[in-house]
Amino acid sequence: MIINHPLLGPRDAAEFVYLGDASLIDRPDWEAEDAAAQFHAYGYLRDNPAGAHQELWYHEQGDRSWLVVTRDTTTHEITQVELARDVARARGRDR
């Protein structure tokens, strides 16, 4: 596979390390009343869609960017690649 890195252009996927669903950005509030339940869902439950999937890849053999890649899990087609930091900020990570 080839991932079109937003800063570096197309790179072989073998340069990257895969983590999983980009929902891992949405780490819950540790002080929430139902933090245990929220962290359970965050840590363990996945949509696991057959289709478009936003997922985290890390450019380990490259510039060490974490990326959010939108990839179809049935065709492997990649439709969008973003810097995870931008996504995280856009999703309102406040620290």
Partner: protein, 982 residues
Amino acid sequence: MSQTHRIGDGQVDRSREISFRFNDRWMKGHPGDTLASALLANGKKLVGRSFKYHRPRGVFTCGSEEPNALVQLRTGAHQEPNTRATTVELFEGLSATSQNHRGSLEWDLMAVTDLMSPFLSAGFYYKTFMWPRAFWEKLYEPVIRSSAGLGRLSMQEDPDHYDKGFLHCDLLVIGAGPSGLMAALVAARSGARVILADEDFAPGGRLNAETLELGGMAGADWAARVVAELADMPNVRVMPRTTVYGAYDHGVYGALERCTDHLAESGGKPRQILWRIYSKRAVLAAGATERPIAFGNNDRPGVMMAGAVRAYVNRFGVTPGHHVAVFTNNDDGWRTAKDLAGKGVEVVAVIDSRDKPAVCEVPGARHVRGAAVMDTVGRKGVKAITLTDGQVIPVDCLAVSGGWNPNVHLTCHQRGRPEWRDDLQAFVPGGALPPGMAVAGAANGQMTLAAALAEGQAQAKAQLEALGHTVANVDVPEAEDEPREAAAFWHVKESKKRAWVDQQNDVTVKDVKLANREGFRSVELLKRYTTLGMATDQGKTSNIAGLAILAEEAGKTIPEVGTTIFRPPYTPVPMGALAGRARGKDFRPYRLTPSHNWAEENGATFVEVGNWLRAQWFARDGEKGWRDSVDREVEMTRNSVGICDVTTLGKIDIQGKDAAEFLNKVYCNGFATLAVGKVRYGLMLREDGIAYDDGTTARMGENHFVMTTTTANAVVVFRRLEFARQCLWPNLDVHLISTTDGWAQFAVAGPNSRKLLQKVVDKEHDLSNEAFPFMACGEVTVCGGMPARLFRISFSGELAYEIAVPARYGNSMMDVLMEAGREFDAVPYGTEALGVMRIEKGHAAGNELNGQTTAHNLGMGRMVSQKKECIGNVLSQRPEMLREDAVKLMGLKPVNPAEPLIAGMHFINRNASANMDNDQGWMTSVAYSPSLGHSIGLGFIKSGDTRKGEILRAVSPVHGREVLVEVVSAHFIDPEGERLRA
């Protein structure tokens, strides 16, 4: 016997002779021959035995689809099993042997299985060999295994080497037949970067095998001219002997180039190169494969594909027989008759299953209309054929054509699903092709020359335009649309004898019918039950016939039955090529520590630690075994001073005004309050609350920290920190650099370590206990001004430091330290002594931090802060992870000090029996403690912290060993930590 069947030149060079050997017989061929064409030229019909019934078999095709003519090529460690004689280029001294027979090829003892065939129908083995049970492994299976398989591995290491490479192009053209050449020509003249790959050594595809003309010249000549033009262009890479074997995601293709297989010796060059081709677009022009018709005894040597017969005649100047009959269900079969007759070969008959007039004039041949071949005669080579009308015709070769299947293989490697075309009676590419791929020519169902050329041009044009190229105008040479009508005709129903569908795996029409009757009606079930299409040819000649017969039996149409899809590789790829240079010592790179040379010069024994090579111990003269060396290293370190290269520990530089806050989030214990110039032990959890990694982090400045990780986790901890930094807390002002390779770091441990370092560290730095106490850190200079970092930390439990210098000075630093330590009898110590000392001190390491244990298990539960946000603290509080009776890390010592312990022992209560239900935990790490004079261990024990003094059984049933152990504190040495602070 000489080349009795050589009748002309074709494209071989008859001015030169090549000697080769098949079994015990030396024969002659010419440059340009394949092993198959040379065998045929020498009149060699019988070349192998089939898989199951050991039937005599001869050359069947002239390409990579060959099911029968498989040989073992070369000898000794170069022996290469299951090699298709039809694709082997002849070279001087070539040696090949036939395979899969007991006794000689001619008199195979295993041929007895053929007589037992009524009892060996499809899937018979699922129904028997069950009694008595023990007989399966002891008797039945060994017999089956030894008679199964085909060729033999030499069982020696492959002596050749292989390479890998990466190529990039605008357009990849797969196949150098007419449409592929046309496509490549258009793209090349348009200035695109083109790769043209073809599995044959002579590009041209069927043009080399046919007598068709292009633009007024012989097809082969046209092909040669185009290839010559392409080869001269700087934007084109022509790759003969290169099979594109797989279509992978995003335009990546796998290709295998055979570099020296056509030579007697590789001459030091790589035997093959595995290419990964990154293409923007691709044109698949893989042509078509002819398929046989099933009839009685259709597997005898001399029964061949019609297209192959004329290829041997036209391209190689070899006729497979002197009295040839043609059996066809389509117009194309007639070309064989015509070409053979044109070359003076006697064509005795053309049997056309269709009741229609002759397609062309074939001098001397009988035309039998609307008939079929029902049976053949001749044990080791066909002697005569019997027709459905009862005629018996003596022949020594029967050319069979059942029509042509487009080579759709690569179109299926992703999501393509071939579609049936009634007019062709064949599957053509369908469904979603691999993105960027277009198909041209016969592979796309364009079965005539003119159409193939036109489509090659059109597809290249379309692909290039999509890429934004201006496409050059290239005229399509004039060519004919040869007749190509075909009828559906798969097998001869009148045949009473066994009729082969899959020749290599010995699957017959009856087997297919039986599978259908027994309920194996899906194509996939048919394939799995009968093994149809699962031989080394992957059913290239057999799948469609099998499908057609299944459809017929089930009363369905072929598209209703469907087709199996093709998966990579298109043709088999050697394991050696797939592995390339990553084998032996080069399997993975070595990482060497900065003092590696010093260690090597000083007698170190090395050990693999991940990719690192570390000194394990430094043996001295007179020491009888590794224990002697390790005991000495420990004792001398604990009594004076020892030095160990600990560079392999991960080092991460953390800077920024939010660095402290960041550390507070990634460690479960607090770091916000760490003073500048101080070091703190940190425990990192995974988000699931399990202990992940530990190490020390030093605050070098207000906004500057240096973290160490374990050797094993250096890479993954860094990855995780970047995740935390970029994804979880993207607004923190903090930056990370991995400096593991930047700094050489040495542990200097033992009561004399301060004195030693005082000689090395420049005098202005006060190393006294008051000025530089336990857990102090700072930037210093050594050797008169060289920058260094000094940490007063201890893994050994002794007064100890770690000193870091820029990595390039690491080897010299080791010299300096040892020289300075000479007066103290300083010793270098390796990983074994390091391990012994950490067990004596009760520090957890990889065996304890194994990804399954919690801080609670490790006795560090109270370190997990619940007063701050940090990774892992929420999920670490789940009830099952905080159980009272959870295992706790404890020390163990044998009740009888003479008894050694074994890591991996399980603990059982003294009066309980040894079984899973009574399992109390396990021993994680064990060492002989030279300090205590007996074996000691660390282990996890249920409620271990409440069981000090208890005696348990430590059992190792796998060793048949049992030791009584006492539960003690894990801190065997200096439990109060006085030495650390000395």
